[in-house]
């Protein structure tokens, strides 16, 4: 979809994307010639058309104007996944809400396991994988680390896990 400023006959540029609200996005475009602004407000169906493609609307500038499209039903899962990744950038993956049991299993443990820290390098590797796999990967790696007496997951632990499981 493209927008044209008719008086200027100039293509409009995307300025901001408001966070999804009630399944709707507010996408603001402006004309670089006359500065006229207009907003495209999507309904839930239009939002989901793009969301289903697994893409994001807006320039990738670290979560500012860039907003990952998502439907109401996935909001909680996405929020968890973003917080879980420890990154400011919203997740690129629209599927974490499909994995409800994993999060539940993590928080529902009667005996809280010893906390395990993640180094920035290991965290970056974790953040680089699809969000729907991330919670399970984190849980499994932390268990692997604990079983070896490590309270920190670094890249050596990740590589050791790969080696151990023959990957």
């Amino acid at each position: 979809m493209k927008f044209l400023c008719v008086p200027c006959d100039t293509p409009m540029k995307l300025q901001t994307v408001g966070p999804p609200e009630g399944g709707s996005l507010s996408v603001v475009y402006s004309c670089p010639e006359c500065g006229y602004e207009m907003a495209m407000l999507t309904n839930a169906y239009e939002t989901q058309i793009v969301q289903s493609l697994g893409v994001r609307v807006g320039p990738d500038i670290g979560g500012g104007a860039s907003t990952r499209l998502r439907a109401e039903g996935a909001s909680a899962g996405l929020a968890e996944a973003s917080a879980e990744a420890g990154a400011a950038e919203p997740t690129k993956c629209p599927f974490p809400a499909m994995i409800p049991a994993t999060e539940g299993a993590r928080s529902g443990q009667a005996d809280e396991p010893v906390p395990v820290r993640w180094t920035s390098g290991a965290e970056a590797r974790l953040a680089n994988i699809p969000a729907f796999v991330r919670p399970m990967a984190r849980t499994g790696i932390e268990r692997f680390a604990r079983e070896r007496g490590a309270l920190e997951v670094d890249e050596q632990i990740l590589d050791a896990a790969r080696e151990f499981f023959g990957m």
């Binding site: 979809m1 493209k2 927008f3 044209l4 008719v6 006959d9 293509p11 409009m12 540029k13 995307l14 300025q15 399944g23 996408v27 475009y29 839930a44 169906y45 939002t47 989901q48 793009v50 289903s52 493609l53 697994g54 893409v55 994001r56 609307v57 807006g58 320039p59 990738d60 439907a71 109401e72 039903g73 996935a74 993956c93 629209p94 599927f95 809400a97 499909m98 994995i99 409800p100 049991a101 994993t102 290991a122 590797r125 974790l126 680089n128 994988i129 699809p130 729907f132 796999v133 399970m136 990967a137 499994g140 790696i141 692997f144 990740l158 896990a161 790969r162 499981f165 023959g166 990957m167």
Partner: protein, 313 residues
């Protein structure tokens, strides 16, 4: 006034570029995969998943490097059968390493991530509208999996497809002409009719149809060490056999595989047959694996783009 095609770019939404980027990631991720084979049918319950796993096992036993992608997202069974339920997913430097079976087959299955007691849900904008988005979301998920996991340099990636003749064609369209198809049927006219429909649909596209396997072609009775009939046609066995050709399965038959309750037990308990036992079923699976390999090799020799031999690993 300018028209759509007069304007370069999309003003900053970047959606087309992202979709193109997804395609590139998928192509890059599969660049090291020598053969892509989708195991489908159109009909459900004919043993696609079982055959996929055991053909993979037979080929692995020949030293080939094999991966399985369980593309049946709504009814994933490979995780249980391959023994990778709850397997560890390890983040690599750029992608995710895949769990492996004991005999070294890499397996992705949603069954490794979602317990069998949980439904796999794709969110929808409104109640009663999930059908509108379902296929799009499933294929977006397939794209994400193809682009995000380490398939590496392997000889064969097998896709275990969901049932549905129309879905089979959708997978062919999504996976592209590099993917060859192996269809599975059983000796019943109903199943053959559905598979024939899949053959007819796939024949309109560019994907190669390697052939079909007739699964559950009798059952192996351990007591009498013989193959006994499992499906009895009112027309008689001969008429049923003859009916295969006129019904439209005009593709090579790569073999017949009898049903074996022992094989079924292995699948339920997640014990992949590392070495196929010396039974008629084991020999049948091994024979189909060889036929599949020969068929793939004949494809390779006919293709100027794939001159390499299959490499043991």
């Amino acid at each position: 006034m300018k028209g759509y095609h007069d304007i370069v770019g999309d003003g900053g939404s970047g959606i087309l570029e992202q979709v193109a980027g997804q395609r590139t990631r998928i192509a890059d991720g599969l660049a090291g995969v020598r053969h892509l084979v989708a195991v489908g049918s159109g009909k459900g319950g004919v043993g696609k998943s079982t055959l996929t796993l055991h053909l993979a096992g037979a080929l692995r036993a020949r030293g080939l490097r094999i991966a399985i992608l369980d593309a049946d997202f709504n009814g994933p069974s490979q995780a249980r059968m391959a023994g990778v339920q709850g397997a560890l997913f390890v983040p690599g430097r750029h992608k995710v390493a895949l769990p492996r079976t004991r005999n070294g087959i890499a397996v992705f299955s949603m069954g490794s991530l979602v317990p069998e007691s949980e439904a796999i849900e794709f969110e929808s904008a409104a109640h009663g509208e999930s059908h509108t988005w379902r296929a799009t979301k499933e294929f977006a998920l397939l794209g994400e999996i193809l682009g995000a996991f380490e398939w590496g340099a392997i000889d064969l990636l097998m896709f275990d497809l969901p049932p549905g003749a129309e879905r089979t064609v959708q997978y062919a369209d999504f996976l592209g002409p590099r993917t060859s198809f192996l269809l599975v049927t059983i000796p019943s006219e109903v199943a053959r009719g559905v598979v024939a429909r899949s053959v007819a649909a796939l024949s309109k596209g560019p994907n190669r149809l390697l052939g079909y396997v007739e699964n559950m072609s009798g059952y192996y009775c351990r007591d009498c060490n013989a193959i006994r009939p499992l499906f009895v046609s009112p027309l008689g066995a001969e008429a049923l056999a003859k009916a295969a050709e006129p019904s439209g399965l005009e593709i090579p038959c790569l073999g017949t595989v009898p049903f074996d309750p022992e094989l079924s037990r292995h699948c339920d308990t997640g014990i992949p047959l590392a070495a196929l036992p010396e039974t008629p079923v084991g020999r049948a699976l091994d024979n189909v694996a060889q036929q599949l390999l020969d068929s793939l090799e004949s494809t390779s020799s006919a293709s100027a783009h794939a001159p390499r031999e299959l490499r043991p690993g």
